[in-house]
């Protein structure tokens, strides 16, 4: 029997008091069914049924888990430097982290969203936001590498991102914070009416996946929190929760929580496309970085772009409508039919559900209840599809099982609640440990969910694992939702602060996963794809070492003629063409990281020797029985000496 800590008891008492629910009084493992272990057990050598892609929050990364086992499969560096792989440290990937603010080696990732075709997950790419320095990344699901990062101009706090439309036409990125546009030096107290928000539409090339900042919509200076593109009948629209419609600029905890209702902004992006076609946009100066990693050259480039097309919602009718929604709504989720838009008012006792067809009807009949900055506000009653009465406290996010049910997380009462879309009746509830944010059902934000599991991502872990000092990893909890009642199956630790997860069946992803890079297709300008290419070249104080790696030697293994003050570029090409045989490279005193070079690819480490001597370098990834022998020496002579430049392998 697990000991209950005081906070636990408090949490659970709160939950019980507020929700009046009986089964929350169970001991802290909940109603754990006896065969839960079997249902999450994946035999050695067997594969999980689903992939889960979790954002890493302040770790800036994305982690990949197998579901139902909860086994960590990989951590993909996205916005953060990763010494494990050399990402952001080697010359090839440094440009990925370039921004107009300079080199930013970290970010705060929240919402991974998978590409879709006809409203169904298609397993091509994952898009994910960088919240802090507004950016959107695209991660390839064949290489599991970050292939592209687009900085978002005129934006601040890129929280409302990255959301993918039904056919991956656009990745939509809204700003959480409003700011002066263009940025300028001005008093903060003049926020109201002067700060503005931007909603960015990044078009996606369907073959390469390459993004382009197609246009932005300028919006009033509220906070835009979360969004969900319409589906099926509501395709062509995107719905965004707002808060701080008060436009408070100080003590927002209180001052931004005054209005009884904030809005869900309904944005008609098909209309926006029409306006763009008609030339109703303004081209504004705006600098932003666009970084692309090329799979063939194994190199990234960063380009600074300088303008953006802007549509002003206050001046262009039919582009945006406001749906009043109680009360400081956070999550915004659209059901698989596209009819219902769920606004999770985080300070509201009820869940508000808007009806898309009622909304269209109200717009057609111009049933408006005023306007905000010239944008029509619809009548609450006219667009209301239904209300889930008193489901819990602090609703945040909702996903769908494809069987007509919705699952919502409640942060304050710390639970997942299952309810019916249409009858608005609460069907089941299960406690979480503790304080969940997002939850994820495979395909649960698409038109075709696989309603077998729900994964709740908790902000707090408390007593779930062996303590590890004041900080413990956040906990994810897996529930079986295939039956009428949810069943808790397991929980497992996660990396950073996972916000959202995109889950998809393994057979959608695994068959396309690349096993090697073909050496014959390696177009890296500094590749050495055969022993004949191995050489060392001096150009002033720059020395380029063209080195190959294969089990179990680095070629050359001895280099002489390097001097203090040189800048040595080690260009390493892994000649292996065998799945899962990377080689590493490390040299003493390197101020960046080591490298991890995949079969068939080339990576470059810069080393600036500061001390005279004969220094070893070696393979860091245990690659073969003779891995310990996979090493060599580099001789560093004093500055200005004339030691002959030479290199060798296997010579006496």
């Amino acid at each position: 029997m697990k000991k209950l800590s005081l906070p636990t008891v408090l949490f659970m008492t709160l939950a019980t008091v507020f929700t009046g629910c009986k089964d929350q009084g169970d001991k802290s493992n909940g109603a754990l069914t006896s065969n839960a272990a079997e249902r999450v057990y994946v035999e050695p050598g067997q594969y999980d049924e689903f992939y889960a892609f979790l954002s890493g929050g302040f770790s800036g990364q994305m982690s990949v888990y197998g579901i139902p086992s909860g086994r960590l499969l990989k951590v993909v560096p996205v916005f953060s430097q990763d010494p494990e792989k050399g990402y952001g440290y080697n010359e090839e990937t440094k440009p990925m982290l370039n921004t107009t603010h300079g080199f930013i080696p970290w970010d705060d990732t929240h919402h991974p969203d998978m590409s879709q075709t006809n409203g169904k997950l298609d397993g091509r790419w994952i898009f994910m936001n960088g919240n802090n320095t507004p950016r959107v990344a695209r991660i390839s699901l064949s290489t599991f590498e970050t292939e592209e990062i687009m900085e978002i101009p005129n934006s601040a706090g890129n929280h409302n991102s990255a959301f993918v439309t039904e056919n991956t036409e656009y990745v939509v990125a809204g700003t959480r914070f409003s700011v002066p546009i263009p940025q300028k030096d001005m008093p903060i107290k003049d926020y109201k009416g002067n700060f503005k928000a931007s909603l960015s539409f990044l078009s996606v090339d369907q073959d390469s996946g390459e993004m382009d900042l197609s246009f932005q919509i300028r919006l009033p200076g509220f906070n835009y929190d979360l969004a969900h593109p319409g589906r099926d009948k509501s395709h062509g629209w995107i719905f965004i929760t707002t808060y701080n419609t008060e436009e408070a600029h100080t003590l927002q905890e209180v001052n931004a929580s005054q209005n009884d209702k904030d809005f869900i902004a309904a944005v008609n992006w098909k209309k926006a496309e029409e306006y763009i076609k008609e030339g109703k946009f303004k081209t504004e100066k705006a600098e932003y970085a666009h970084n692309i990693f090329d799979e063939d050259t194994h190199m990234a480039t960063s380009t600074i772009k300088d303008e953006v097309r802007v549509l002003d919602a206050s001046e262009l009718p039919g582009l945006v409508y406001f749906l009043p929604t109680p009360k400081s709504p956070h999550g915004c989720d659209v059901d698989p039919t596209g009819e219902y838009i769920i606004g999770n008012g985080k300070l509201s006792a009820d869940l508000t559900v808007h009806s898309f067809s009622k909304m269209l009807d109200a717009i057609e009949n111009e049933k408006f209840d005023g306007e905000a900055y010239n944008i029509p506000i619809l009548n609450f009653e006219d667009v209301l599809g239904g209300t889930v009465k008193q489901p819990g406290l602090g609703p945040l996010h909702t996903e769908f099982d494809g069987k007509g049910n919705a699952y919502t997380t409640f942060f304050i009462s710390s639970e997942v609640v299952k309810w019916n879309v249409g009858t608005w009746e609460v069907l089941d509830r299960k406690p979480t440990y503790y304080s969940p944010g997002h939850l994820s059902i495979p395909g649960g934000n698409s038109q075709e969910p696989w309603g077998k599991y729900v994964l709740a991502m908790n902000k707090i872990t408390k007593d779930r694992y062996l303590p590890t000092g004041p900080e413990m990893n956040h906990s994810a909890q897996l529930y079986d939702i295939s039956g009428e009642k949810m069943e808790l199956l397991s929980d497992f630790p996660t990396i950073g602060e996972p916000h959202y997860a995109s889950m998809a069946p393994a057979d959608l992803i695994a068959p396309n996963s690349k096993k090697i890079y073909k050496l014959s297709e390696n177009k890296h300008p500094h590749a050495a794809t055969s022993p004949a290419d191995v050489r060392v070249e001096r150009d002033g104080n720059e020395v380029h070492v063209y080195m190959t790696m294969v089990r179990s030697h680095l070629n050359p293994d001895n280099i002489e003629g390097i001097k203090v003050g040189d800048k040595v570029y080690f260009h390493l090409t892994n000649l292996e063409q065998d799945f899962d045989v990377p080689h590493g490279f490390a040299v003493i005193g390197a101020e960046n990281a080591e490298l991890l070079v995949m079969p068939g690819s080339t990576e470059t480490l810069v080393w600036e020797p500061k001390k005279v001597g004969v220094w070893p370098f070696y393979c860091t990834d245990f690659c073969s029985a003779l891995h310990q022998e996979m090493s060599g020496y580099i001789r560093v002579s004093p500055e200005g000496s004339n030691t002959e430049l030479k290199w060798s392998l296997g010579e006496e």
């Binding site: 294969v550 089990r551 063409q577 065998d578 799945f579 029985a625 003779l626």
Partner: protein
Amino acid sequence: MKKASLIMIIGSLLLLGLFKFPLWHIQLEAPQYPDPLGMHIFIEGIQGEEEFDIQNIDGLNHYIGMRTIPKPEEMWEFEVFPLVIIAMVVLGVLIGILGFIGKVGYNWFLGWFVLMSVLGVLGMYDFNAWLTDYGSNLDPNAIMKLTHPDGTPMTYSPPLLGHEKMLNFDVTSLPHTGAWMMFVGMSLTVVAFFVGRRKREKRA
């Protein structure tokens, strides 16, 4: 004799399968290779079962000092074998046609089969000799030098036929599609011989 001659022609033509399909297949299985490595031996050269299998087999073999898998130009066999096969096909078809128009008797069919069998046995002998040399003529500076319990140096010849355990690998060597087509073809020439003889006996 017409029927027997047709069978003879078809039988000889089946040898052409050797130009499209592998003669032999050697598979290497080990725990760390969930997708086993494989070699297809064609009469014109050796190919990996998967694109990079040869490179990976070479990578493994270098530990024990084996030479790399030979390229077609490195072995005379890969030039001579196709010529021999073509010659035998032409000869077989010619005999068949001559039988069809009554210029030669069914004994020629058997004659072709015997010649082909002799050549086949020679081919197998050569192949086996190559395997033996390949697995035992090792680099004296090999990284790993293993000995049998009696102290004799270990050799690594893959079996000509069947399965053998080589270090951590399960090596299986079996005839492949090309060989089976050849066997069926050769059998047909024997059938042709018997069919031809029965016809003759009936007539007699």
